[in-house]
Symmetry: C2
């Protein structure tokens, strides 16, 4: 993994940049941050131990995955936020965006139920051969409203076809608490544990991410090894030579001192673009509180050069771009291009297909440099399990470090509670009538300026 | 369509909000903006005439669509940015995210090639029965690098199977200029026109969006009628009673006076969430220039409540949320939920599936109100062609109005040019060696601070 931060420095971008001196001067500050993290690693930041803990715990996951592979055609991950985004990341990064359609696929098709849009739920359940389908229900609390509703839709469909729940469901939830745990006992449903100290957005290297990964053929040992390797590196490294500390410091300084309140993860790969969606939750929920926080954008190259790049190049100086790309692209091939001999096309002939996306990755950086915009870049050798494990661990650690720098608790999410309570109130759940009254008052007040058109 | 802006006013959110007085006082300013737009409608803002122009021009589109439907199983849209995002919007909003897998589907499967990731291109081309596939190549300039490369990959694959290009390709491009037009003549490829005055991001209501729409069964007449209806409404309405003028004014005022530099389109629907991706380009490319511009976020409900909502509720006061939802959801159904009698789940039983997502839509607004965050909401009766046509026209007009308010030309995108030239330089295209030298100098300078880890 190669981390390049040359282009956040004033040597390259002038007054929009940081000075190397202020970075070097931060050594004591960064060491203190790192100490804080290490001190909390057995409690608050327990998730950072997952690579080591899970390495010893994969046999049951593998057995279950084998059973699913041998007996089923479809595997549906049912979860919200951290109970889905990490799974999507592993899936698309390793297996690509056309995996379900691929003639080379040898493992079950993978689907995600991460919303409660009736049309999506209905169409998906109608399109699957349920007899050949396993639903992996993931919720840490055991009672997430959307996941509960999707579970009910699934069990309705299974019951209608007289299919046994314990054959078609696998749960991942808290070891003791919650409604899912209770159901598991009642119906003898195979259940994996989410460690109580691991929050949803930090759970991809727990059973949460590993089961669906193993089912679709992801090498979960290599994934965990990559993550563990990254953890070891962080331990050894001087803070000023450690990207895991320098990146959050750059984010922090640009945010606090230059008003850079937007960070875009610009991934040059279809599959790896889901890293951006995973990171969006990680950064937003971890560091967006107490009236502060950087807003993450997930951007995909080269696609979004034709969408949002104009704003990056010529808009306000409120963004830091974090570029990520592999050096080698999977399934590369040579373009024959025996079509026409024309200047609009002949520069593409007899090239490898990867040369264009790789060139765009570098050209976009050069253009941003020309307009004096700060960016860093991360290059990995190729998108495989080891690199992905490293990236995941890297970003989890760096977001925790950023939280520490902002003096924020990066593992809670108190802001989402109220909306949930209003939802329960509206839906008539017992014990939430007071919230319903509050909600009704809001609706009344929110009626004054409405235009019909 | 119901536009509610109560919750951007200080009556509801205090000092973070605007006063109704300053909105009322803007009447002259808004009238001038509207006048400016109407004056340029035959040139710069020609795209705003598309609904009326295209209503008379759909017969050839429909004929071609019928031919494709009768003879092919797969239809692949090949384009970048505005040559794909509008197509994706129509596709997913009307037909849902599981259309290709749906047992009820009666029209060809739809795919999008909007990137040059070798693995995606290879897997897609290998998974399709090419004999039963049409590729719709869309590029206004006729020479977009990514689209050219994908075209070469496609023609390589067709040639290898001895399939005639003019049976499996349909072009959409400039009426006279460009390489695609030249190819069309050489190989007798059926070609539709993009009007020269219509820029990519404003082209969904031209042939660009209509052909793939018609192929997948979208009622393009209803779509154009909806858009035309919206256009008529804008013409008739007083600016202070017109959401098309009030929304950009709210965006403008909050940006200029309250530092709100992020606008999130929060759509409560899987399919309609592609409106957010389409709007992201529309706003970013139209208004992101001359060191100004608002950054658009595409956010999906209820999914992203479990991802980015924490930041919206408790983060900095730098965001305006634009909520969008239908009142009635398609394919709604009743949940039996005969699973367990438990407080964690029984509030969901015997409800319609849409009640939860609808409640989340309102509950999230109530929670944002409680934390004094500005938002507006747009409700449409349901997601159908008429509503979608209205929404598309509404947003195109309001973004142009926002550009006018910011004193920016909303129809060009000068910032993306340099990156393209660097790409050509790197790829060795003739005539770009100077850019290559510039690029090489950048790479050399960008080497100073690299960490291996």
């Amino acid at each position: 993994m190669k981390f390049n931060y040359s282009n956040v420095l004033n040597e390259l971008i002038g007054e929009n940049g940081l000075s190397i001196k202020e970075i070097k001067n931060s050594k004591t500050f960064l060491e203190k941050i790192k100490e804080n993290i290490e001190e909390k690693i057995d409690a608050d930041y327990y998730a950072l131990k997952l690579p080591f803990l899970m390495k010893q715990e994969t046999s049951e996951i593998k057995e279950t995955a084998k059973l699913v592979q041998d007996n089923f055609e479809n595997f549906v991950v049912v979860g919200m936020g951290g109970s889905s985004l990490g799974n999507e990341l592993l899936h698309f990064a390793i297996n690509g965006i056309h995996y379900n359609d691929s003639p080379l696929r040898k493992t079950p098709r993978i689907y995600f139920m991460d919303n409660v849009d009736p049309a999506s739920v209905k169409t998906l359940l109608n399109s699957l051969d349920l007899n050949r389908t396993v639903f992996n229900i993931i919720t840490k609390s055991g009672s997430t409203a959307e996941t509960m509703q999707n579970l009910l839709c699934i069990t309705d469909a299974l019951n209608k076809r007289h299919l046994p729940l314990n054959k078609h469901l696998i749960f991942i939830t808290d070891p003791e608490k919650g409604f899912l745990r209770k159901l598991a006992k009642e119906f003898s449903v195979k259940t994996f544990v989410i460690p109580p100290l691991v929050g949803g957005r930090y759970s991809v290297l727990s059973n949460v991410g590993l089961l669906s990964g193993a089912v679709e053929g992801v090498d979960i040992d290599a994934l965990l090894n990559g993550a563990a390797e990254q953890a070891e590196k962080i331990k050894e490294k001087d803070v000023l030579e450690d990207a895991t500390m320098l990146l959050p410091f750059i984010q922090y300084k640009l945010f606090k001192e230059k008003g850079v309140n937007i960070n875009a993860l610009f991934t040059y790969s279809d599959g790896l673009s889901y890293l951006g969606m995973w990171y969006r939750q990680l950064l937003a929920e971890s560091c967006g509180k107490r009236f502060t926080g950087i807003t993450p954008l997930a951007v995909k190259g080269s696609t979004d050069q034709h969408s949002i790049l104009q704003l990056f190049i010529e808009g306000p100086f409120d963004k830091l771009i974090i570029f990520i790309a592999p050096v080698r692209y999977k399934d590369d091939f040579n373009i024959d291009g025996n079509l026409a001999d024309d200047e609009h096309i002949n520069y593409l002939k007899h090239k490898n297909a990867s040369q264009l996306i790789r060139s765009e990755f570098l050209a976009t950086q050069a253009a941003l440099n020309k307009s004096k915009r700060p960016f860093v870049s991360i290059e990995i050798p190729e998108i495989d399990e080891v690199s992905l494990g490293k990236l995941i661990y890297f970003f989890e650690y760096e977001v925790i470090a950023l939280g520490e720098m902002l003096n924020i608790n990066p593992i809670n999410q108190p802001g989402v509670e109220l909306g949930k309570q209003y939802t329960y109130g509206i839906m008539g759940r017992e014990g939430f009538s007071e919230k319903k009254d509050e909600f009704t008052a809001f609706i009344k007040a929110n009626k004054k300026y409405i235009i019909e058109e």
